[in-house]
């Protein structure tokens, strides 16, 4: 037997369910522009019909519907797109860091231009040519000295500026590591909150959104993978559980977040600058390895992402050289080492020619450049020898006591184009240079072509980084678009839903009026015959 008030109950449920849907619509509209927000839908479900089959069921025809209820509020989201997005975001992070590092280097090298190292050297060679035509002239000698000074200063400037940017990269790595560790901590905190809510059968959608947003952010820095870990209890089927975040180190999974626990990443040989007992800044000598959640991960297997781009720019240790000194590879250490080689080769070769010439006062065996004791650091150390303060010591002549002899100045001007692959070079007036005995670090091309080659390499590295950055940006954008297509709020759609739910709500209310009228008839209008 159906209850008299069955219809009222069904209509009341309908009103409540439609109201819940309407409120969710309002929540969606309110968050239409919230970063990381996923639109939510109320899952409406017909309530179990009456009667429930059983021995004592009332004998009525068929089952009578009992109305509707809001079963759950779920996010409309596709997990697969998240995985794709994070993969692309990591690549973009990597290429962005690299493109940025190259761009800064290009700014410093400032080639091709009228103020780069190439131009400064060109002017030096020109001054030597002028000296060759006026060897007895103090002015020409003074110009050679000044231009030589300009070359050494340009070497210093380039080396110092690159070192400065490299130090900045180290600081940036520190900030990134701190941020990554903070994100890991936040994700584990959200995991903990989710683990408290889910066993009660609720779906903490807004926490899911926040957690996904944090994981998205994290993916920019390191290419991470996510696994779900169910929390148990009375969790809904749609519950997402806790996220375990890990990276792949070869075939091994290295966990950074496990449920409520977050580990951190650090540089075992680095330094702690903010007193939190995490060494977030890499050592000056280059990154040896990273500690990720207690596992040592080498730079070569560091997953994609901004952090890897920064570390590659900053430099990492890669084996040891013949003297047992660590070899540091990377964008900035590479260019710094190249500049050292160039300064050493240029200065040593120039000295070798200069020492064989004679000054205005007949002096010979005088070095033009000083500070060239070793290749390492030569770009910082190269300087004019103090002997050159006396302009008469500039060895323009090939023979002693010949004030008008500028042949060695020509020899010096031609150092620019000496082939470094030669074992010996003979110059004007029988001056020979034994290149093999100088043990120059550059052994092919000329001083000039080596430099041009590095600028070319820098350009190619930059071109590739820019291209890959723009490619991965487009890919990420396309995935993001797909994701938005699924998850973002459409105001039109919400307006439609609003009308839909409003009408359903109104209709349910009207149903109550109908039942009210019916009951009025039964209660007040019946049994009054003849009154």
């Amino acid at each position: 037997m159906l209850s008299t008030f069955h219809g009222l109950e069904a209509a009341r449920r309908a009103m409540m369910a439609q109201q819940a849907a309407l409120y969710t619509t309002g929540h969606n509209i309110a968050n239409a522009n919230t970063e990381g927000y996923t639109r939510q839908r109320v899952q409406l479900e017909a309530t179990p019909p009456f009667p429930i089959p059983g021995l004592n069921r009332p004998n009525i025809p068929g089952q009578m519907g009992t109305g509707v209820e809001a079963k759950s509020v779920e996010r409309v989201r596709e997990y697969f797109l998240d995985v794709q997005y994070r993969g692309e975001n990591s690549k973009l992070g990597y290429w962005e860091a690299r493109a940025d590092a190259v761009a800064k280097m290009e700014d410093i090298m400032n080639e091709p231009s009228d103020s780069g190292l190439a131009k400064t050297m060109d002017q030096f060679w020109q001054a030597l040519q002028d000296l060759s035509t006026h060897p007895e002239n103090e002015g020409a000698r003074s110009v050679v000295r000044q231009r030589g000074l300009a070359v050494t200063e340009t070497f210093h400037y380039l080396s110092n500026s690159l070192t400065q940017i490299r130090t900045d990269l180290g600081t940036q790595i520190g900030v990134t590591v701190t941020e990554v560790n903070s994100l890991l901590k936040q994700i584990s905190d959200i995991n903990a909150r989710i683990a408290e809510i889910e066993p009660n059968g609720y779906l903490p959608n807004d926490l899911y959104d926040e957690r996904d947003r944090l994981v998205d952010e994290l993916s920019k820095f390191i290419d991470i993978q996510v696994e779900n870990r169910p929390v148990g209890g009375n969790a809904s089927k749609a519950a997402e559980g806790m996220y375990d975040v890990y990276i792949r180190n070869g075939n091994e999974k290295v966990y950074l977040v496990q449920g409520r626990n977050a580990s951190s990443i650090s540089f075992p040989d680095g330094s702690d600058v903010d007193g939190d007992n995490v060494n977030e800044v890499p050592p000056d000598t280059g990154v040896g390895a990273l500690d990720m959640g207690g596992t040592t991960v080498s730079v070569s297997s560091l997953p994609n992402g901004n952090l890897r781009g920064l570390v590659e720019g900053y430099g990492h240790k890669d084996g040891t050289d013949a003297n047992g000194q660590p070899i540091v590879k990377g964008l900035y250490p590479g260019m710094l080492a190249n500049l050292d080689k160039l300064a050493y080769t240029f200065g040593t070769l120039f000295n070798a020619v200069h020492e064989q010439g004679h000054g205005l006062n007949g002096n010979t065996g005088i070095a033009f450049f000083s500070g060239l004791n070793q290749v390492n650091g030569a770009a910082k150390m190269i300087d004019l020898a103090s002997d050159i303060d006396d302009l008469a010591n500039i060895a323009a002549a090939t023979k002693a006591g010949q004030s008008g002899n500028g042949n060695n100045a020509i020899n010096l001007a031609n150092v620019r184009s000496l082939l470094l692959s030669n074992t010996t070079v003979s110059l004007q007036d029988g001056i020979m240079v034994n290149l093999a005995s100088l043990r120059l670090p550059l052994t092919s091309g000329t001083v000039e072509t080596n430099y041009q080659g590095w600028i070319g390499q820098l350009g190619v590295a930059g071109e590739q980084a820019n291209r890959m950055k723009s490619n991965s940006e487009i890919l990420r954008q396309s995935v993001e678009e797909k994701r938005q297509s699924v998850s973002s709020v459409s105001l039109d759609e919400e307006m439609m839903n609003m009308i839909k739910f409003q009408h359903a709500y109104n209709a349910a209310a009207r149903q109550i009026t109908v039942i009210d009228e019916m009951l009025d008839k039964i209660i007040n209008g019946m049994g009054v015959v003849g009154r």
Binding site: P112, G116, W125, T133, Q402, Q428, A461, G462, E463, N466
Partner: protein, 297 residues
């Protein structure tokens, strides 16, 4: 595909940003006049750019060296021209004096003139251009000819060639060594001093004086030979300068072809991008505006 308002807004923003990037690129190209501003814009252009600049700097330096070479050769030639004139005058005087009818006082006067002209030749040999003695080999800070206390004249033996590099690896000697111009040891000057002494000596016969004509002719021929060589050298320098001139034009052209923008192309691209940009803005303004909210009452 389901499209939402936020997607439209984001997309529009991205497109407009991209459009601005292009406008910025054209603006940079137009204001610098260069296709590229950094190596990554085009590594090949950048690398070539450095090489072409070096090349151009070298060529320009050689051009500068030319003026120095001309300076040497022209000044040497002009000095030697003066020397030739002086010698010719002396020759005329000798022809006069060899006439036996000349009296002693007349010969004395000629002797005086010869001595003056000899001093003049010393001055010519010690010609200085700027701060250099041009006839003293590599010893340009010392005069090549010195008059000793006893009146004898010594010519230095500094015959080192002075080279100027006028093209890659091409060294042109620009100086005339003192021994070549004025005779080794003190050839010319001792002959002239002998001549003056003979003129002053009353017992010198006309025939003896005529003997000096051969010597003078020898010196004159020698000077002419040196000047002919200078002329030839000058010719060679001029030819080389022609070549370097065209090399400079080529180097400048290569530099320009490599990195200078094609203005017409960039301006056209800019105008095209400008209209695309306007269209993007207009479309954005239209698409973003209306939603169902505006129509539902």
């Amino acid at each position: 595909m389901r499209i939402t308002q936020s997607m439209l807004a984001n997309n529009m923003l991205k497109q407009i940003t991209r459009s601005y990037e292009k406008l910025d690129q054209y603006q940079t190209q137009l204001s610098t006049g260069k296709k590229i501003t950094r190596p990554s814009d085009d590594p090949v252009v950048a690398m070539k750019g450095i090489a072409y600049r070096s090349n151009l700097a070298e060529v320009e330096q050689f051009k500068r060296n030319f003026s120095e070479a001309y300076n040497w050769v022209e000044n040497s030639d002009s000095a030697l021209d003066k020397a030739t004139q002086a010698l010719q005058r002396i020759r005329e005087l000798v022809v006069q004096a060899s006439n036996d009818t000349y009296e002693e006082t007349q010969r004395q006067a000629i002797a005086k003139e010869v001595r003056q002209l000899t001093e003049h030749l010393v001055t010519i040999a010690n010609t200085k251009v700027g701060d250099k003695y041009i006839f003293n080999g590599a010893q340009t800070t010392e005069p090549p000819v010195t008059v000793n206390a006893d009146g004898t004249i010594a010519v230095s033996t500094n015959d080192q060639q002075l080279n100027i590099e006028l093209a890659k690896g091409v060294y042109i000697p620009v100086n005339i060594p003192p021994s070549t111009a004025f005779g080794a040891g003190n050839g010319l000057f001792s002959d002239l001093q002998d001549l003056a002494a003979s003129l002053e000596n009353p017992s010198t016969t006309g025939d003896e004086l005529t003997g000096y004509l051969d010597k003078l002719d020898n010196h004159l021929t020698h000077l002419l030979g040196v000047r002919a060589e200078l002329g030839a050298r000058m010719n060679r320098i001029e030819l080389m300068e022609d070549r370097i001139d065209s090399q400079q034009v080529i180097a400048e052209k290569m530099l320009s072809d490599n990195e200078d923008v094609d203005l017409e192309k960039v301006i056209t691209d800019l105008k095209t991008q400008e209209s695309v940009h306007r269209a993007a803005l207009a479309v954005g303004a239209r698409v973003i505006q209306p939603t169902l909210v505006d129509f539902l009452r």
